[in-house]
Amino acid sequence: MATVETSPAAGAFVRPDGKEKVTGTGRYTADLSFTGMAHAKFRYADHSHAKVVKIDTTKARALPGVVAVVTQSDLPDVKFGGFVQDRYLFAKDVVRFEGEIVAGVAALTEEIAAEAAALIEIVYEVLPAITDFVSAMDEGSALVHTEWASYGRDENILSTGNTMAYHTIVKGDADAAMAGAEVVVKGRYVSDSSQGVPIEPRAVIAQWQGDKVTIWSSTQVPYAARAGVASTLEVPEADVRIVVPLLGGGFGAKCDLHFEGQVAALARAAKRPVKLVFSRQEEFVAIAQRREGIVMEFETGVTREGRLVARKARLVLDKGAYCGEGGFLGQMAAMHACGPYVIDNIGIESYLNYTNSQPSGSVRAPTAPQVCWGLEQHMDEVAAAIDMDPIELRRRTLIEEGAEGPTRQIFDQVGVKETLDKAVEMIGYGRDLPDDEAIGVAVGWWPCMPAPSGAYVQLNGDGSGTIITGAQENGTGAVMAMPKFVAGELGMQPEDFSILYQDTAAAPWDMGSCGSQTTFNSGRAVLAAAAEVREALLDAAADSLEADRGDLELADGNVRVKGSPERSVSIAELAGAGTVHGKGSGDVPEAPECDAGGCVGRLGNESFLAPQLITQAAHVKVDRATGVVRVLRVAAAHDSGRILNKLGADGQVYGGVVMGVGMALSEGTMMDDQGRQRNPHLLDYKLVTCSDAPEIDVEWIEYDAKNAGPRGSKGVGEPPQVPTAGAVANAIAKVLGTQVRQLPMTPERVWAAGRGVAR
């Protein structure tokens, strides 16, 4: 069993990039400028769905101060997309959502660029906008991509018409088991889409020198951006360098090739550096990265003793106009419709459907918070149907070591039951509360994402060191913790190291700041590189001290003979001129064995490596007369394996819970009948404020997880947001006596549910 204890490696660690960020000396992409630099503006589609008959840029080009106008006709005929190649940098023949870029302009000032963009004349043949992502899959529906069948795609993506990807998770015979179940419960839940809303709107600057381009970009995935620029402009990756200055948040919204290609094309045409900085509205509308809307239908067969004999679910997800990196969303959603529960028979289907609206993608734990919100309310409904306390039902059904997963993977040690017990204890579940207050509980999970990475560690002549990593810092502090790892490996101090990062010309490929993978994979590579340095130092010290290598240890900046600290040589001395270096990648953990033979669309998420497990309990107060909900307190108990930096990990939970409260209560993108956003600004897209943040208590369930990352750690960045909305929902349902079946659970929806009014 897992045990609750504090890891010795945990403790306060103040990140080295903190001071420059809070004092305002840090430089973000929008802060940079270059000699001769021009400014970019995009001309966006005038319709959500239309054929582009003609683009006339004559007037725009003639405007004084305009230095370049670029359309797709100026570029190689190359489509891009992570799983399905369905998109051009600039619209070619068809525009498919309001934020689609038809042309780019570079001019001497932003104002001239904006004026020129408006002068571009475009003749359209307007097509009906396909905005209902459920009816989009009806037979006979008009198509978002009439050419879908001809697109390049991942061999495991099964597409049909508007369904970009179809997935199933299958175990046993769910139909038969459901038919024979003692009690069957059904529930339908609908999640609206929402947004990542990084406070830094994105910015891109491109500068060519000869055939090589350097691009400064506010991206979470510089290597993916490099690959995208290389493929769409048909230049070698070696000639494309992506540098990320400080990044002002991402939350997954900056996880793809986003505008680096367009700006590079403009800069090449202008023969000048070109800078693009988004307005807040562009950040809402133009990004290809919204949290997907999902319609969820759950059906669960259960015994009166609380054994889950069957789970069926049908999930329909709104992909928006293009694939991007989000081709896996349907399979991920299907795994979350199972949840971290032991279920005898499973039949989940998911449909990831194209619509004429903003593309959706990986916003913090993509699909998990929405599906967890629906499933955890459904679990409370199942508990009610068998007259069992919902905590007891979860205690009886959550996974544990040796349990079988949705595709029969056998779990190693997991601490999910301990997270449940801990969260319930922390919140004081079961105590008497006023009748407008209640406590709700939800449980969720998220996989560790195994991926290759590579890093270098070098020692400089004065004994300081430099860590060179492809890892990207998105604000979590994950990269900032790396000096601590390396220093620990080499008997040095974290302050001895600087980090060279966020520069594709400096370090080997890395997946980027996504999938909660930085410590898991990039950390592994950095540790492997540090181990090489350690070996080199031991070799050199063994010579210098005329000692046996096995008798040496690294401590306090020296290599010394164990038990005879006077026989020692400083690491600075061993570093010599500064040529001691190591490189490493480490072994990428393998996905757990499973039986996914019956599953359609296997992209790698059909089993969960070293799952991170979370229980959150929310104490809420509902104003019944208005439907306004205040979250008073959240108790969060998490299994993320060993915690390597408690200050940073706690911070991820605080942020994730606050984001989860926003998603639960106020953050929703509203669309009109053309798939256009109705609230693309911070006045009416309601983030929660500091004043709305509940009291948040955090506990970590720690043990040495097998198959985990460095030093027994798992990921920590995404899971905190997974169960928050579900916990809040279950608390609201207890006060109202009925579920609120649409997310966000706005005051009006809570009020309507409380009055029994169907909306």
Binding site: Q281, V622, D623, L665, S666, P747
Partner: protein, 299 residues
């Protein structure tokens, strides 16, 4: 693009700039923010009036509080007379926008922006405020009730500048409250709001003013609701009748902030809470300032 920008230091300078066609800017929380959001471009000529000394300060003159156009929301919340005698204004000023809005935004700009969602608008209207509009040609005094004509529109001519707002202090035994529907605890805009100013003499309500915010094209009083309450003892039934009359007289729109159905229902809730809080304050009871957050979960 802004062609001219003048920073006036005297009222005369400000008035001649306005007479020449400049738009006045003080806190900039509507004009500048609106331009950045693309609501309306910045005017070609701007005159900054934030350094005009004559437009500052709160003065108690002949039984009325005279608020200079540059008085900020923050200053209103901090003023003892406002808190004690014109409490609804403090309720409203304490919850306008964000901390930054309250420190920067002025009452003069707020009134002339003529938003039906102006928080302090209902309280000023119910207290019978008048405004002074001045131009190089002279000045006139206008009842606030006559100033606003439509969302964003007033009867002021382009050469006129609001110089002060005069708020008569109410009779002894008067309590007031402004209550707003708040989706979150900070940085909100009124979706539904209600003001009540109630005078209670020997257990009987002798005077009532009730106004609605964001429920009609301009902020306005609801005579039917006032009639339902005046002459009563202010008990639950009378409060409920006034609240129902408020909702019935509301003509809200449906938009991203809420449906007309919900807004109408919330008009009743906000009116009930405002009237009940005003009566509590009139009769010596305590409701914290601002009232809105304190009333989460109230009847």
């Amino acid at each position: 693009m802004t062609a001219t920008f003048v920073s006036a230091t005297t009222l005369e300078e400000a008035l001649s700039a306005v007479a020449a066609g400049a738009r006045a800017v003080a806190g900039g929380t509507d004009l500048v923010v609106g331009a950045r959001q693309g609501k309306a471009a910045l005017p070609d000529a701007i005159v900054a009036i934030d350094r005009v000394e004559a437009l500052r300060g709160i003065a108690n003159v002949d039984g009325a509080l005279v608020l200079g156009a540059l008085v900020t929301h923050e200053a209103l919340v901090a003023d003892t007379t406002v808190r004690e005698r014109l409490t609804a204004i403090a309720d409203a000023s304490a919850i306008v926008g964000s901390h930054a809005t309250r420190a920067q935004g002025t009452i003069g700009g707020n009134v002339m922006n003529a938003s039906p969602a102006m928080d302090a608008g209902g309280p000023l209207l119910c207290f019978g405020a008048t405004v002074t509009l001045r131009s190089t040609a002279g000045e006139r005094s206008i009842d606030l009730a006559d100033l606003w004509t439509a969302p964003g529109r007033t009867i002021a001519t382009p050469d006129e500048l609001l110089t002060s707002v005069r708020v008569p202090l109410p009779a002894a035994g008067t309590g007031s409250a402004y209550v707003r529907l708040e989706y979150r605890r900070q940085m909100e805009i009124a979706v539904v709001g209600a003001t009540a100013v109630v005078t209670v003499v020997e257990g009987q309500i002798t005077d009532v003013r009730i106004a609605i915010t964001a429920l009609s094209p301009t902020i306005r009083r609801i005579p039917e609701a006032e009639a339902a309450l005046v002459g009563t003892d202010g008990g639950d039934a009378a409060v409920a009748a006034a609240a129902a009359a408020t909702a019935a007289a509301s003509t809200p729109i449906s938009d991203v902030r809420g449906s007309a159905t919900y807004r109408t229902a919330m008009a009743e809730v906000m009116a009930r809470r405002a009237v009940a809080s005003a009566i509590t304050r009139a009769t010596g009871g305590s409701v914290p300032i601002p009232a809105s957050p304190a009333l989460h979960g109230a009847k």
